[in-house]
């Protein structure tokens, strides 16, 4: 269970997050970046469950988000559903598709799982391009309206930003709850040694599937929010680069921690919008970041911070004990 200081810090950060849409309300550009960052936080918290806690790298993350986004758009525009009904339906559907597609590969570990999910991602991307009656192909679907609201209204800018902040906070809280729950403990046990976990009576495949389903829900909800927030979706928006980007948020921030992926998304998600002049180099920069993180900071910035803190505390403790020793001698 978290300590009281941690709870206080968490409440403080939550309040800041929920208040931020109102603080930046005057500037639509900054507000938009903030909204995209909240979607990034939601996505990276979800990816963290699988990459940080189970140790699997789901490269089909973007594809699942895309399936949900296209389904949601089809249900709202084609069938006249409300956004609030279409999103859970789309999320459940795409998470189920994700589990069905991913179930066989969940038996694999490490590189083979990553490769398998990359292949699935490629198939999904190809499907988005070829099933033009649903997706409009490479052209994409434009002018997706924001979510509907009471009395035939649509959510306005600030309301939508607040919704995103709220969903991001719920997402982070949910990962926190899961990480402290028995499920979270089982997932970590599987990550550390799946054979040992299985001999201890943990259903490895079952727990992995549950985690994968939850992660797919995160991906899907984020995808639906993305579609309505940006107002435009295309196969390119949900290709493997999205999976890699969200992976980078998690790895850069610190996998397997709660705050790490949030930090990663906070730092990296706004970058492409703030560095407009470098837009053309976006892929190059993120590629360089991926390599740097893997080589130099495999634990991410927060993991690195924890490591230094631990070493510093150990050093301080050793200093303290040697002091008492010398005091005892005198």
């Amino acid at each position: 269970m978290p300590s009281s200081t941690r709870v206080l810090i968490f409440i403080f950060l939550t309040l800041i997050a929920l208040a931020s849409p109102f603080l930046v309300a005057g500037n639509r550009f900054i507000a938009f970046i903030l909204g995209m960052t909240f979607i990034g936080i939601l996505w990276s918290s979800g990816m963290n469950l699988l990459y940080g806690f189970v140790g699997l790298m789901p490269m089909m993350f973007g594809g699942i988000a895309g399936i949900a986004a296209y389904t949601m758009v089809y249900l709202t525009q084609g069938q006249g559903w409300s956004f609030w009904l279409a999103t859970p339906a789309a999320a459940l559907l795409s998470a189920s598709i994700g589990v069905v597609l991913g179930l066989p590969s969940l038996r694999l570990k490490g590189f083979y799982f990553a490769l398998c999910s990359l292949v699935i991602q490629s198939v999904i991307t190809l499907a988005f391009i070829y099933f033009t009656q649903f997706t409009n192909g490479d052209v994409g679907i434009t002018q997706i309206p924001p979510p509907d609201w009471f009395f035939g209204e649509r959510l306005n800018g600030i309301q939508f930003d607040f919704l995103l902040a709220l969903v991001a906070v719920i997402g982070v809280v949910a990962t926190m709850v899961i990480s402290y729950s028995r499920l979270g403990k089982r997932l970590v046990a599987i990550r550390e040694d799946d054979v040992l976990a299985a001999t201890l009576g943990i259903n490895v495949l079952g727990n992995r599937s549950i985690a994968f389903f939850i992660v797919s829900i995160y991906a899907a909800v984020g995808g639906c929010l993305y579609a309505t927030y940006v107002g435009f979706i295309s196969p390119r928006a949900f290709d493997v680069l999205l999976s890699l980007n969200v992976w980078l948020f998690v790895a850069f921030g610190g996998r397997g921690t709660i705050i790490g992926p949030v930090l990663g998304a906070l730092i990296l998600a706004p970058l492409p919008f703030l560095l407009q002049e470098l837009q053309a180099f976006k892929d190059v920069i993120s590629g360089i970041l991926i390599i740097v993180v893997t080589l130099i900071m495999p634990a991410g910035i927060y993991g690195e911070f924890l490591r230094r803190k631990k070493r510093w505390m150990a050093g301080a403790a050793r200093g303290a004990t040697s002091d008492t020793h010398s005091a005892a001698k005198q």
Binding site: V123, V284, I291, T294
Partner: protein, 293 residues
């Protein structure tokens, strides 16, 4: 009518042979690196494209002959691989789960290289064609075939043969296979494992470069070939068995013919789609591949 069918058949066979040689070469390069260094090179398609693009620049912009351009690209490939090994690859030799770390690193490399290509070559042109190695046409049993393609075919199979002989009989090839089979006992028997890693990385990548040059000599290409090649090489490696050069050669030839036959009836994307499908089935049912030891 039967004449047309025969011509289609012969051209399909020749395309299958050329594509098969190129696929086998690239997949052999990828599988050597994976089997030895445990490095699944997701950016092999970008290296392939890099070689083709450099050859294009040398011939088109600098007016070199295709043959000298091919040799120069091969030399550059070796230098580039040594540099990459020295800057990047050697830093992860001791990481326990290094195949996933390498996978991520090469995905990053893919992003960097494809970004650079679309900012440079992508702006200059969208279709790249090299001047032929040889001019003229030879009639083989009544069927015309360009000398250029015959040359590419012969070079491709010559390279495959020499690669096979190198791995089979040369001291380095034996060390490489020893490291494939068991790193620790290879080290105990006096094999310098780190040095073998380095050589394998350079060898594997240089072969990928050669495949790129041969492809550029035989066909015109665009920037999307990188992604297709990456998928194909990985599919061949997984199906043939990671680390199995024989598997890469056999499955590479099969894939070359599949591509040639499918291209007659449908788009090449259909072939890519089927590779993805077969690779998926293979990963799920028999991740160790068909030709694993």
């Amino acid at each position: 009518v039967s004449d047309t069918i025969l011509i289609v058949l012969v051209s399909t066979i020749s395309t299958g042979l050329i594509l098969g040689a190129i696929f086998s070469l690239v997949a052999a390069g990828v599988t050597i690196v994976y089997g030895c260094v445990w490095l699944p090179n997701a950016s092999n398609g970008q290296f392939f494209l890099l070689a083709a693009l450099i050859a294009w620049s040398l011939t088109t912009s600098f007016g070199w002959h295709s043959a000298s351009a091919a040799v120069a690209v091969f030399a550059m490939g070796i230098a580039f691989s040594f540099l990459l090994e020295w800057v990047l690859i050697r830093r992860l030799y001791d990481v326990p789960d290094r195949n996933i770390a390498y996978f991520v690193v090469t995905l990053g490399l893919t992003q960097i290289m494809s970004g650079v290509f679309s900012l440079t070559y992508g702006v200059w042109s969208d279709q790249f064609t090299l001047p032929p190695l040889l001019n003229g046409i030879t009639m083989i049993g009544g069927f015309p075939m360009t000398n250029n393609r015959i040359a590419v075919l012969l070079i491709g199979y010559g390279l495959l043969g020499s690669l096979f002989l190198l791995l089979r009989f040369h001291k380095y090839g034996r060390a490489l296979r020893a490291v494939f089979q068991n790193r620790e006992s290879a080290a105990l028997r006096g094999v310098d494992v780190q040095f073998t890693y380095k050589l394998s990385f350079v060898l594997g990548n240089s072969i990928v470069f050669l495949g790129g040059v041969l492809f550029a000599l035989a066909y015109s290409f665009d920037l999307t070939v990188a992604w297709t090649m990456s998928v194909t090489a990985f599919a061949i490696m997984i199906i043939g068995g990671p680390g199995s050069v024989l598997g890469a050669l056999v499955v590479g030839l099969v894939f070359g013919f599949t591509q040639a036959i499918v291209s007659v009836f449908a788009s090449p994307t259909a072939a890519t789609f089927s590779y993805l499908g077969v690779m998926l089935v293979m990963l799920l049912l028999r991740p160790q591949g068909l030709f694993s030891r």
